[in-house]
């Protein structure tokens, strides 16, 4: 289970870095945060899980989406 979640987190992160659409990247990162939070819960770290869910999936997604909306959505390079 741990390995599976970690693998998915790896895939999600790689997708976020490779995707041409920054918004898709932000959503992928948000999903990896939720997965990490689940993993923390499984690993008996409920405090870290709550923080990761609130911060990783919540606040930082808001900030990422804001930044993309205010700048540009496509990674042109």
């Amino acid at each position: 289970m741990t390995e599976l979640i970690l693998f998915l987190v790896c895939v999600g992160s790689a997708y976020a870095l490779l995707s041409k659409d920054l918004l898709h990247g932000a959503i992928a990162l948000s999903a990896t945060s939720v997965l990490s939070a689940l993993l923390f819960f499984i690993l008996k770290a409920p405090d870290v899980a709550i923080t990761e869910a609130a911060v990783g999936a919540g606040v930082s997604t808001v900030i990422f989406v804001w930044a993309i909306r205010e700048t540009e959505r496509k990674d042109r390079s």
Binding site: E3, L22, L43, V48, E52, S60, I63, F64, A67, S77
Partner: protein, 112 residues
């Protein structure tokens, strides 16, 4: 061992992303990925010595190590602060130059 290799892989992914991606938002993504790799590493390793969340009372069992968990709370918060600041600066740069490409920006700022 597999779990730790995966975390290592995650960390290296972040670092390579930071080096090769030229988009500033992607660089912020990369930092956030590196940070979460370390958080996962601490929590995963710290949980190896017990089978019960560090809350007193309740079911019998051995606690996992609460120290790395407490440290990682701080690390997560620091990570999001760094992201927020990085993106705000990227936003200002985009307002001025209309691009998020690091190399392009370096050329446009044009300092010798």
């Amino acid at each position: 061992m597999i779990a730790r290799s995966l975390i290592l892989c995650l960390f290296i992914t972040g670092l390579v992303g930071l080096t090769t991606r030229r988009n500033l938002v992607k660089k912020a993504y990369a930092l956030s990925i590196m940070n979460s790799a370390v958080v996962l590493l601490f929590v995963l390793e710290g949980s190896g010595i017990g089978d019960k969340a560090p809350l007193l009372g309740g079911s019998p069992g051995v606690f996992v190590d609460p120290v790395p968990q407490a440290l990682m709370l701080t690390a997560i918060v620091v990570g999001v602060c760094v992201s927020a600041l990085a993106l705000t600066i990227a936003y200002r740069l985009h307002r001025i130059y209309g691009t998020l490409d690091a190399d392009e920006l370096k050329r446009l700022v044009g300092h010798e």
